[in-house]
Structures are given as structure tokens and as C-alpha cells.
């Protein structure tokens, strides 16, 4: 209903619709568009980095600007591109996969998105307001606490607000998955993507508060004169490293696990086989999530924690390779004996296996504490985490987008253009990053503005930069595909791929209430179970009745706007106390909205049975 109806009403109404929406499917669109834009921005920053490093002693950009680029590239890609794109998939798919009509907290869902966007916009405002943060995405103190200008202030405030949004989103999906499953959808019948989102949400819940605290400490040090990281007043800079990585390591599993889930669904669908070793896969996902909290200090082997701590964290880190290995083999054996269809979604998934295996293996190499004394903070590490984050997360996002595009937008992405996206990106990726392992071992530290002549690093860097252009080309083709598909392609059927899970049992895109009647789930891969018994769709678990739906609300947007305003107040009150007024205005708006939300009854509305019958058809 959404797009077509809204356009008839004109652009203003369309905009208002999206500003106030609490529908998880529209929130998915919002996450996708804003995450996509930030992805392009982060990609542009990456291209500038690679151009700067194309030849030795290059002067393409200045040293200070380079540090801003590398900081913003990392921060943007992790917090403003990967996270929201994953949230887009979670929102688009999870409620459908568990047979729910919406998420548990539609209002909070919208709030989570607007907070993320407010944080992302604040962070990027820094470019136009005196310079971006320049202390790396890890923002180690005291480089970050003593960095001149307001760059790092934008980092602190932007991430604090965006992080709050993510935390809210995490809680929302936990409750959704626990409470909102359709009858018969037991935990051990949930699709792997839903399982992975469940574990990821748990990680978000327990990891993000550590970042919140770290950011508060940094904010107090920079803006209010506290001494957490000021060694002259007894402060200790290592506290930041611990807090950051207690958050930061689970964060990388937060990023990768949902895509592990998506790959599982894709392998299973396009091999026409149920997932091999389903319970082992679930167990491995949970175990990875759990171990994710035991390993943060492997980012700090050279910090000087001593051989005992280094050894412990080395061994726990290696242990993560076991559940990850289980997953790789289970994926391979899901395809074993199947009928593999090489769609674009499957192509990205198949490319993921060797790429991620290499990334995982270099991960084990890095886990070897003593050896990390060489790898640490070199291009070897850069290569490693791009192999897992691009090879896992970005490949996964591309695979998922191609796979679920019809469910999100009602059309299957053009396959030819899809493959033309894949090949340059895949080749360019390996060209860019494989060589970087060697650059690191040959003595090139990461975050280097320049490398000098005569160090034997010229060829490698040149190859790496060329690869980056291939990746950029692939990305542009994807954008063309989006436009082309929207204009030219046919409307997709409900189940274009012979799917197995609940989302394929309803129209593409689904009506705003998702399921006219809640389906009855009778096994793993519920739609497949019904189809293999010769039925066309799901058996309903209830008679047709009124459907309860939540009301739209502008409050989430206004609340985020309040924090956005307050954020600028916090940043600039250091220069002039008058700016504190913005803090009061902004916080007043936000707290006022919370008060309104608390005292104003909002019971939602009902879609009546008669109207549903009239719609007929689906």
C-alpha cells in the first residue's frame, strides 16, 4: 500500500508518512536509504585514502586531513553504514520470518532509527564545522582527549546518540523474537537469520553500554575538565582501551552474525535443501556470541598487559575458530547433494566462503599473541578485518539485498546487472586487500599518511589502489541496478525463489499488517513443510478477525531532533557558556516528548475484519 498510495497524496504527505511511520517495513526502507548514503560517503573516504597511498611520498591530501579521512572512514563504515544496513535487514525480515504483524515496540523502533540518523548527521556535520575527528575510529586517549578543535567532540556526541538508538533497536528485537512468534514457531524452528538477530541483539544489549560509559568519560574529559585520561591528575589512558574493546570486539560479531544467518537462509534456499546441522548452527551462533565477550583484550596485546593476560586472551580467541569452522563446514554440506542455483544472491554467498575463510585464518594468526607483536597495527590487520568485514558483512549485505529485495520493494533486482556488480567488486576486493597482508609484514604500519620511497612498498600499494577502483565500479553498477529495476522490472510474485520460510508465504511487498491471519508453524522451514505436502500456502492459526495496529507518531523524530540540538550545545559550550542554552532547549524538547509519551494514552487502532475481507485476494 505504502508507496503508491502516498504518492497520490503528494510529496508532503509521503514525507510525513515516513517521518511518523512505526511500520517496521518502512523503517527498514529508512535504514536502507540512510545506511546506503553513509556507505557511499565512507566509500568515497576510502577512495581518497587509496589515492593518497597510490605512490610514495604523495601529497594528494595533507596529513591532518588524511587522519580525518581514516577516522571518518572507519567510524562511518562501522556505525553509520554496516549497523543501519543490518538494521534494515532485521526490520525488513525478522517480523515476517516469525509470523508477526510488527515488532514488539513499534514506537521505539522508529525512535531507534531517528536517533541513529541524528547521531550520524552530527558526526558528519564536523566536516563543515572546523574539521572531522582525527584520532582513529578507536579514538585512543590521550590522542583523542587532547586533539585540538571540535572534531573528536563530534565523534563523542554523534556516537553517543547513534549508540542509544542501536541499544533501543537491540532490546526491541530481543522482545520481538521472544514474545511475538507465531503459534508453533518454537525456538528450534526459527530461521537461522532470526536466530542470528536474536544473538546479535543480546550482544548489542551487553556491549553498547560499555561504549556509552567510555564516551561519557571522554566527553567529561574534553568538555567538563574531568581527569579520567589525564595522567598528570592520576588518570589512566588504558581504561579507554578496555572500555572501547569490551564494546568493540562484540561489535564485530554484532556485525557479522546476522549475515551468517542470512547466508544460511540463502544457501539453504538456493540449494533446495534444509540447512545441514541446524542445531549445531544455532549452537555455534550462540557460542560465538558468548565467546565474543571473552576476547576483547586481543586488540591490546602490545599495550603491555603482561604474558599471562596475553596468553589467556590468545587462547580464548583461538577458541572462536571452532564454532566458526563448524559453520563453514555446515554451509558446504548444505550445498552438498543439493541443486545449486547461481543467482546473484547465491554468488555473493559462495564468494563469501573462501574470503571469510581467509579472514578467519588470519584472525587465528593474529590471535597468536607473540606473533601479534609483528602484525599489530600494520596493514596485515587492515587486510584481516577487511577480509572479515567486507568479505563477510558487505558481501552478506549485498547477498541479502539481492535475496530480499522483492520482499522489501516488490521487484527482483536485475540478474545481469547483479552479476556485473559482483564480479568487479569481488575481483577488486581481493586485489585491494590480499596484497595488504604482505605490505604489513614488509613493515608498513596502518594509518600511515605517507610511505617513503625505498621501502619496497610501492608495487603493493599501487595494486591495492587499483583494486579499490574496481570496487567503486561494482558499487556504482549496483546503484544503476536499483534504478533500472524500479523502472523496468516486472512486479515480483510472493515467492520468486521457491522459498522455505514464512516471509515468502505473503505478497511482495507484504500488506502493512503483514499476515492477514497468523500462520500455524508446523516445522523448520514452515513454508517448505506446507509446499512438500502439496499445499499452496500456510495454514492459518486463527480465524479472520480484527487486527490491532500501532498508531504513527512524530514524537520519535522530535525527540531525536531535541538530542541533535542538545548535542551542538554540548560541543560548543566549551567555547562560550551561552551555548548551554541549546543543551537546555534540546534536552527540554526530548524530555518533554518523553513526558507526553508517558502520559498520553496510545492504544493503537484496529483494522476491521470486514475491511480485510473486502481486500480479498491475498
Amino acid at each position: 500500500m505504502s508507496t503508491a498510495v502516498a504518492q497520490k497524496k503528494g510529496f508532503g504527505a509521503f514525507l510525513w508518512d515516513y517521518l511518523t511511520t512505526v511500520d517496521h517495513k518502512k523503517i527498514a526502507h529508512l535504514y536502507l536509504v540512510s545506511g546506503g548514503l553513509f556507505f557511499l560517503l565512507g566509500g568515497l573516504e576510502a577512495m581518497i585514502i587509496r589515492i593518497q597511498l597510490m605512490k610514495p611520498d604523495n601529497e594528494f591530501i595533507s596529513a591532518g586531513l588524511y587522519n580525518e579521512m581514516l577516522t571518518m572512514h572507519g567510524t562511518t563504515m562501522i556505525f553509520l553504514a554496516a549497523m543501519p544496513l543490518i538494521f534494515a535487514l532485521m526490520n525488513a525480515v525478522v517480523p515476517l520470518q516469525i509470523g508477526a504483524r510488527d515488532v514488539a515496540f513499534p514506537f521505539l523502533n522508529s525512535l531507534g532509527f531517528w536517533l541513529f540518523l541524528a547521531g550520524g548527521v552530527i558526526l558528519n556535520c564536523s566536516w563543515f564545522m572546523g574539521g572531522a575527528p582525527d584520532a582513529g575510529w578507536t579514538a585512543y586517549a590521550p590522542l583523542s582527549t587532547t586533539s585540538p578543535g571540535h572534531g573528536v567532540d563530534f565523534y563523542v556526541i554523534g556516537l553517543q546518540i547513534a549508540g542509544a538508538g542501536t541499544l533501543i533497536g537491540g532490546i526491541n528485537f530481543l522482545v520481538t523474537i521472544v514474545n511475538m512468534r507465531a503459534p508453533g514457531m518454537s525456538y528450534m524452528r526459527m530461521p537461522l537469520f532470526t536466530w542470528a538477530v536474536f544473538v546479535t541483539s543480546t550482544l548489542i544489549l551487553f556491549a553498547f553500554p560499555a561504549l556509552t560509559v567510555g564516551l561519557f568519560l571522554m566527553m567529561f574529559d574534553r568538555m567538563f575538565g574531568s581527569a579520567f585520561f589525564d595522567v598528570n591528575a592520576g588518570g589512566n589512558v588504558i581504561i579507554w582501551e578496555h572500555l572501547f574493546w569490551i564494546f568493540g570486539h562484540p561489535e564485530v560479531y554484532i556485525l557479522i552474525l546476522p549475515l551468517f544467518g542470512a547466508f544460511s537462509d540463502i544457501f539453504s534456499t538456493f540449494s533446495k535443501k534444509r540447512l545441514f546441522g541446524y542445531s549445531a548452527m544455532v549452537f555455534a551462533t550462540v557460542l560465538i556470541g558468548f565467546l565474543g565477550f571473552m576476547v576483547w583484550a586481543h586488540h591490546m596485546f602490545t599495550t603491555g598487559m603482561g604474558p599471562v593476560a596475553n596468553s589467556i586472551f590468545a587462547v580464548t580467541t583461538m577458541a572462536i575458530a571452532v564454532p566458526t569452522g563448524i559453520k563453514i563446514f555446515n554451509w558446504l554440506f548444505t550445498m552438498w547433494g543439493g541443486a545449486i542455483r547461481m543467482t546473484t544472491a547465491m554468488l555473493w554467498s559462495i564468494a563469501f566462503i573462501p574470503t571469510f575463510t581467509i579472514g578467519g585464518m588470519t584472525g587465528v594468526m593474529l590471535a597468536s599473541a607473540a606473533a601479534d607483536y609483528q602484525y599489530h597495527d600494520t596493514y596485515f590487520v587492515v587486510a584481516h578485518f577487511h577480509y572479515v568485514i567486507v568479505g563477510g558483512v558487505v558481501f552478506g549485505i549485498f547477498a541479502s539485498l539481492h535475496y530480499w529485495w522483492p520482499k522489501m520493494f516488490g521487484k527482483v533486482l536485475n540478474e545481469k546487472l547483479g552479476k556485473l556488480t559482483f564480479w568487479p567488486f569481488f575481483i577488486g576486493f581481493h586485489l585491494t586487500f590480499f596484497i595488504q597482508h604482505f605490505l604489513g609484514l614488509m613493515g608498513m604500519p596502518r594509518r600511515y599518511w605517507k610511505f617513503l620511497e625505498g621501502q619496497g612498498l610501492e608495487t603493493g600499494n599501487m595494486i591495492s589502489s587499483i583494486g579499490a577502483f574496481f570496487m567503486a565500479f561494482g558499487t556504482i553498477v549496483f546503484l544503476i541496478n536499483v534504478v533500472y529495476t524500479a523502472v523496468k522490472e516486472e512486479k515480483a510474485p510472493a515467492d520468486p525463489y521457491d522459498g522455505r520460510t514464512l516471509e515468502w508465504s505473503i505478497p511482495s511487498p507484504p500488506p502493512f499488517y503483514n499476515f492477514k491471519q497468523t500462520p500455524l508453524v508446523r516445522g523448520l522451514d514452515p513454508l517448505w513443510v506446507e509446499k512438500s505436502e502439496g499445499k499452496k500456502g500456510m495454514t492459518p492459526a486463527e480465524p479472520l478477525g480484527d487486527i490491532h495496529m500501532p498508531n504513527s507518531s512524530i514524537l520519535p523524530f522530535v525527540m531525536s531532533l531535541g538530542l541533535f540540538i542538545a548535542g551542538f550545545g554540548f560541543i560548543y559550550q566549551v567555547d562560550n557558556i551561552a551555548w548551554l542554552s541549546l543543551v537546555f532547549i534540546g534536552m527540554g524538547i526530548t524530555l518533554g516528548c518523553m513526558l507526553i509519551r508517558s502520559v498520553k494514552d496510545d492504544l493503537g487502532y484496529h483494522v476491521h475484519k470486514e475491511d480485510l475481507e473486502e481486500e480479498g485476494g491475498h
Binding site: 541499544l167 514474545n179 581527569a227 579520567f228 591528575a233 581504561i239 494514552d601
Partner: protein, 207 residues
């Protein structure tokens, strides 16, 4: 369940806070939220423990703290936790009047606690010249205890607004979960204070 049933239930169930799906969601979501809050305070405690000796020549924990006031504050907050239990007990019995009375007592005790804390901080700042900026210890102390104080203030405002909003209508399936999670929040604040009392004040005096 129609909206009318939610606002004016014909028969009040025994656990009105969990009678609707929205209520169940709120209940579970709030527990998860408290899980996150636990990590937040754990991080603050970790920071405090790492810095509690870093006085940079300023006053130390042992010199600053007096246990008498803190003991009174502990009693105030523990009692307020108990009174909020009474309030929820009366909510389940659908007795609005008694619930409001006990919530009122809870709020009063909470404000008394907050008053003591403000007095304590005032005393440190003006009597002992021990501020947020004195040393890393000072920063860590005021941040940890201040975060807790901020939570207390937020909880008080929250419960107050619930009291005022619902004073003129009965308990129903829409507001029961709100009262319930507010009381959960209040208990959580109380538990955190027990840790602050132990880790900051007792260990600061004895350790």
C-alpha cells in the same frame, strides 16, 4: 482485546501488568533494559576501582567519607524499595488509593535520599575542596555516584508523573505495566546503591 477492554477491564486479572501482549512486551523489554544498565554500572564501577587511588595529592576516600550519612541514605533507599513493593501489592489487588499512598511514601523517601546526596556533595566541594576536577579519583567518584543520583532523580520524576496522570482514573491494563516497570526500575536503583555503599564507601573506609 478492544481498546475499551484495556482501559476499563470488566474483570481485573491477578497480574494486570502482564495481561496484554503490550504489557508482556514491556515487562520483558524492561528486564532486558536493566541488563544493559547493569553493564553500564559495571563499567562505571570498573573505572572507579581502577582510579580510586589516583588522588593526585588531593583528599583520599578514607579522609573524605563519613559512614553515618551514607548509612542513613542506604536506609532511606532500602525502605523506599520496600514501600514500592507495597504499592505494587495493592496494584494487583486493584486498590488505587493504597497504591498511590505507598507510591507517595516511596517518592518522599527518594527525595530525602537525593537531599542527603546533594548535601554530601556540597560538603565535599565546599568543605573539603574535593571536586569533579580535583583528580582522576574525583572524576570517577562523582561520575559513578552522580550517575546513580541521576537515575534516582529520573525515577522520581517518572513515578510522580505516573501518579499525577493516573490519580483520577483506576488501575487498568494499560497503566498497570507502567507502574510495574517503574517499580522494577526503582528496585534496580536500590540494588546499584547497595553496591555503591559497599564498593565506594565501605571499601573506601576499610580497604
Amino acid at each position: 482485546m478492544s481498546n475499551e477492554d484495556v482501559l476499563n477491564p470488566k474483570r481485573m486479572p491477578h497480574e494486570p501488568e502482564k495481561a496484554t501482549l503490550e504489557g508482556k512486551n514491556k515487562f520483558l523489554g524492561f528486564w532486558f533494559f536493566l541488563g544493559g544498565e547493569t553493564v553500564l554500572f559495571a563499567s562505571l564501577f570498573g573505572t572507579y576501582l581502577a582510579l580510586n587511588d589516583s588522588t593526585a595529592g588531593g583528599p583520599s576516600a578514607d579522609e573524605l567519607f563519613g559512614l553515618e550519612l551514607v548509612f542513613i541514605m542506604t536506609m532511606l533507599l532500602l525502605t523506599s524499595s520496600l514501600t514500592s513493593v507495597y504499592a505494587i501489592y495493592h496494584m494487583k489487588n486493584n486498590d488505587l488509593g493504597k497504591m498511590l499512598v505507598w507510591l507517595g511514601v516511596t517518592v518522599a523517601l527518594g527525595f530525602a535520599f537525593l537531599g542527603c546526596e546533594i548535601y554530601e556533595f556540597y560538603h565535599y566541594i565546599h568543605g573539603e575542596h574535593f571536586t569533579f576536577r580535583s583528580s582522576a579519583f574525583g572524576s570517577a567518584f562523582y561520575t559513578l555516584v552522580g550517575f546513580h543520583g541521576g537515575h534516582v532523580l529520573f525515577g522520581l520524576l517518572w513515578i510522580l508523573s505516573l501518579i499525577i496522570r493516573n490519580a483520577k482514573r483506576g488501575i487498568n491494563l494499560y497503566n498497570a505495566p507502567k507502574f510495574y516497570v517503574a517499580s522494577l526500575y526503582w528496585h534496580f536503583i536500590d540494588v546499584v546503591w547497595v553496591f555503591i555503599f559497599t564498593v565506594v564507601y565501605l571499601m573506601g573506609k576499610v580497604g
